[in-house]
């Protein structure tokens, strides 16, 4: 566990430069790409998320961890996508209108992609009507909505309503996430799923995807 533990710590500490060297070393030592992802990077990110929840880390530190993860993924992604086989389904991801935060969204995008989803990451501050248009165009299986602000999470039910009005609600599974968003909120607004973090969003997305026809 030595090198994987080092990778986990490097993500946790946001050591952007050291991480690349560590990932290369792990691959040289014969570690599988998915092991490096799951037991190194994701664990590091999860520990960072826990520290964020406890108020021990904040957005700058989270971003450094996220940047570290991204640098590592440049090396790992080709190996992981190759291994994942792809074709798991399509996902449209967006941070709702009025919210400019996209750290979580980017992480979810990366994790979805490596898990075999074809993603369209619309980025932050996306108007509801643009999300609806993207669903019409791409016909995704999953719509992932993110919000970091407690007053922008209020836009999420508007997106669900807009999908309903456009006759699209039954064709997709809508997942919501972001710091202030919890399971009870997801239930209250009628979303299909919620995940605590990017890593746990993947199995939930896969489970939801399996409920839809091919």
């Amino acid at each position: 566990m030595g090198i994987l533990s080092d990778i986990k710590n490097a993500v946790f500490d946001g050591e952007e430069n050291k991480i690349v060297e560590l990932v290369r070393q792990a691959l040289d030592e014969g570690q599988a790409a998915n092991e490096i992802l799951d037991k190194g990077l994701v664990e590091g990110l999860r520990a960072t998320g826990d520290a964020f929840e406890k108020g021990e880390k904040f957005i700058p530190e989270m971003l450094l961890s996220s940047e570290s993860m991204k640098r590592a993924m440049v090396i790992l992604k080709p190996l992981l996508v190759e291994g994942a086989g792809g074709g798991f389904g399509k996902a449209v991801l967006a941070t709702v209108e009025g919210d400019v935060h996209d750290i979580g969204l980017e992480l979810v995008g990366t994790m979805f992609e490596t898990a075999g989803f074809e993603i369209r990451n619309m980025g932050p501050d996306v108007p509801t009507e643009d999300i609806v248009e993207a669903v019409k165009e791409d016909k995704p299986h999953i719509v992932g909505l993110s919000a970091l602000l407690s007053n922008t999470m209020d836009v999420m039910p508007d997106v669900l309503e807009a999908l309903e009005k456009n006759g699209l609600r039954d064709s997709v599974k809508v997942m919501v996430g972001g710091a202030p968003v919890k399971q009870d909120f997801a239930d209250e607004i009628g979303a299909d799923g919620w995940a605590y973090d990017a890593a746990s969003a993947v199995p939930k997305a896969k489970a939801l995807r399996s409920q839809l026809p091919d």
């Binding site: 400019v100 935060h101 970091l148 407690s150 209020d154 919890k182 209250e188």
Partner: protein
Amino acid sequence: MSYYLYSNTQEVSPYERMMASLNGEKRDRVPVHFYPRWAALEHIGVTFKQTWDDPDLYVKGQILAQERFQYDCAIDYDMMGPVEEAMGAKLKYPENDVPQIAEPLIKTKEDMKNVKWKLDPRKDGNMPKVLYVIRRLKEELIKRGNGTQHVPIMTWGSCPSRTAACLTGFKEWFLIVARDPDWAVELMERALDGWLQMVVAAWEAGADCVWVNDPVSSRDCISRDHYEKLTQPYERKFIEAIRRETGMNITMHPCGNWHDRMDLVYQNQADCYFLGPMDVEMCTQKAVETNEKGLSRVKALNGNVGAATKSTTDGQTAVSYATTMKRGKPEDIEKEAKAVIDVVEAADLRCILGTNCWDVKGSSYANRDAMVYAARKYGQYQ
């Protein structure tokens, strides 16, 4: 019962009531100020973009909505980016929302050279349009007050941390805070003057008071340590400069959850704090403590009926979803309003009843009326 028709004495004008509270004094009752952009636009049935294209329409909305809802303060085009735009940033103008930065202006330190740091609010960009609105509002309020301004005008200024984040992009700003604190300081140092000049010009155009905000230094964003060492000194510098240049009463809005750093926030020396979705008892107690230690000069607290969801009840415990202004009932507003009035006034600070974030788009007339009704019912000083 109609909330709108409840007792409506005009013996004390909104101007006297609001300005007295900002000075820590009492008039007839607690004033109401909930930053009524959407109330005004929705009342006259126009979008924000329409009023941006026709500033007189914005003035009309502010005037008619105040007369309809009977709250105690009008606002100019606040929470905008005219300064950042004049500095060189490109804004996008959504149909019915405030303009936003379309693309970060500063991506590298080299880009600092391309920013127009020294501004003339009377000439540059859209800043003259904001000043025009203030002048017209003033004229119209005096006209409708038969020669006396009966409603104050509040303008707005962006704290240096927020301006810097607008110029770099929010995500990049937080990375700069983490990677290069010296650059963060340089950005705030350079960013301060533009908004200071804008606020001074707004005061000269007729603004009576000002609010400033910082949405990037809360507990949701950066550590207390980063706040204390990096951004708080520039909030204080900005506030003290506004006071020195204009003498206006200053309200600060710590946007988000600042539970672990209210003692530092109050040391920014604002007269009033527009509280976000935070625990009003804790915020009040902390204001009293810092005042007693001679570290702050808090005279009034503005807020904090639910317009944004409280993320915690006490700084730690998560609470469930609820946006009272939009999804609650008038009785919910009344209940929350009474609690705020009781807590703040019991500490002998002045309560300026309001929301805990902007006036929420799409709030019902009944809910907005309920706030004024609650101030009349529970906020009488006699």
